[in-house]
């Protein structure tokens, strides 16, 4: 194997590490409640009235922050666990099941865009449909 071969492999190694770094630290922000990295599939975005956004790693963290800052909040965007689509929380289906999304805070609430996905999850992981934890009373 030539010198070029090894140099090429080192370049590829650097590219892959940069890709991982981007995914872990640049693309995925940190939770505004507990500081842990936000996994895209469980991301919750709380949009404030002054138009800035707070990102959270789980429903648990988002609800904890939500309870103390209700007056500041405009609306909440959650992520569909199946497709990764971002949807307004009032359009989403929430299921509390035995499956834990985040072991550090024991979050068991799951979000789905489609009712059928929520029912399938509830059946599979012994869960029940729950209300939107981010409902803003007018």
């Amino acid at each position: 194997m030539t010198k070029k071969f090894w140099i090429g492999l080192i370049i590829i190694l650097i590219v892959a590490l940069m890709g991982v770094y981007y995914q872990k630290f640049l693309k995925n922000p940190h939770c505004a409640y507990d500081g842990s990295p936000v996994t895209p599939i469980y991301e919750v975005d709380i949009v404030l009235k002054e138009k800035s956004t707070k990102k959270f790693c789980s429903i648990y963290c988002a609800t904890q922050w939500f309870k103390n800052n209700v007056t500041l909040i405009d609306h909440v965007i959650v992520t569909d666990e199946i497709r990764g689509n971002k949807i307004d929380s009032y359009m989403a289906y929430f299921v509390e099941s035995e499956l834990i999304t985040n072991e550090t805070n024991d979050n068991r609430i799951h979000v789905f865009q489609q009712r059928q996905d929520a029912l399938t999850h509830a059946e599979k992981f012994h869960g029940t449909m729950t209300d939107d934890p981010f409902s803003l009373d007018e």
Partner: protein, 332 residues
């Protein structure tokens, strides 16, 4: 895209006619007074072919850039898959013909390189005949491109990729499940590493010093094994990417869309991973074309040298692709 398609199609059409004309007037021995004219004409045909084919080869990744650019225009589209739902049969045709044309154009350029490197151009006739086939594919590809760009109107609402890639009866799950049973994802994953590693070992054997000391029989066995595993590796890699790698790397465990993986920027280096796999696989095929067409007489030495380089490139691409995937799987 439309400009490139029209430009390459007109060049391709001209090249096709010129190639037929040159082939019809082709003589193995040319009188001395006509030699210069004949050489100039041949040189022009091949130069034109090199320019046209190089442009057409770039069109393959460009096509996906174009599809990605349409995502925001098509109602309901979340990724390139949504765009492919408009004129689906044309897109399917283009998605099939583009890798084929990339492959045979690459093969032709390598054959031309061998011919050009020899003083008497012994492969000129073979190259012209091969160019005729290449031109046919080029024309079909170019016409397809123009038809698609002109007819494509993002007016209808399309479905999201999840309705195709994430359903339990998706083809990428059903086919491996029919072969390997319920635990197909695990088996596919093992098979992915196994076939790639075996392929890399076989390719590295081709460039090692031991290669010269092997008997012709063993060499043939290794070569045919390379081709066979290279072909088997294609569906194995595609299914493993869709079923295992893409969901893990995108951090969307239930989402199997290869278009999201490739173009949504969730995994920024995903196109490099896939590109390396494609080049690695095609390099094996290109070596096959070289062995088939260029391994006689004067061109033998240059072909051997090029085959060695091809082996090296292929082994490098597979190794690099597998390293990138592994690093992501471990660190994500």
């Amino acid at each position: 895209m439309l400009f490139v398609a029209i430009f390459s199609l007109s060049l391709g059409g001209f090249l096709f006619l010129l190639t037929i004309k040159t082939l019809l007037s082709f003589k193995t021995t040319v009188p001395l007074e006509d030699k210069s004219k004949f050489e100039r004409k041949g040189y022009l045909v091949f130069l034109l072919a090199c320019v046209t084919l190089s442009v057409r080869m770039i069109v393959w990744p460009w096509f996906y850039f174009m599809l990605q650019s349409f995502v925001s225009e098509v109602p309901g589209a979340m990724c390139m898959f949504g765009v492919t739902q408009i004129l689906p049969s044309t897109v399917t045709f283009l998605q099939i013909i583009k890798p084929i044309s990339f492959f045979i154009m690459g093969g032709w350029l390598l054959c031309y390189y061998v011919d050009k490197s020899t003083p008497t151009a012994p492969l000129a006739r073979k190259n012209l005949l091969f160019l005729l086939i290449v031109c046919g594919v080029l024309l079909a590809d170019g016409i397809g491109d123009i038809y698609y760009v002109i007819r494509m109107k993002p007016l209808m609402s399309v479905s999201c990729c999840a309705t195709f890639f994430d359903v339990p009866l998706r083809p990428s799950a059903m086919i491996p499940q029919a072969i390997f049973g319920r635990n197909f994802q695990k088996i596919l994953f093992i098979l992915y590493y196994l076939s790639n590693i075996i392929l890399i070992i076989l390719l590295l054997t081709g460039i090692s010093r031991k290669w010269e000391s092997l008997t012709p029989k063993y060499r043939m066995i290794i070569l045919y094994s390379q081709y066979a595993i290279g072909i088997i590796n294609i569906p194995v890699v595609i299914y493993t990417i869709i079923e295992n790698i893409a969901p893990k790397l995108m951090q969307l465990p239930y989402h199997h869309c290869i278009y999201c993986f490739m173009g949504n920027g969730m995994v920024p280096d995903a196109p490099i991973m896939l590109g390396l796999f494609v080049i690695g696989t095609f390099a094996i095929g290109w070596m096959g074309i070289l062995r088939l067409l260029c391994k006689n007489g004067e061109a033998r030495l240059i072909t051997e040298r090029l085959l060695l380089k091809g082996n090296n490139v292929s082994a490098f691409c597979f190794l690099a692709s597998i390293i990138m995937v592994t690093i992501h799987l471990i660190l994500i």
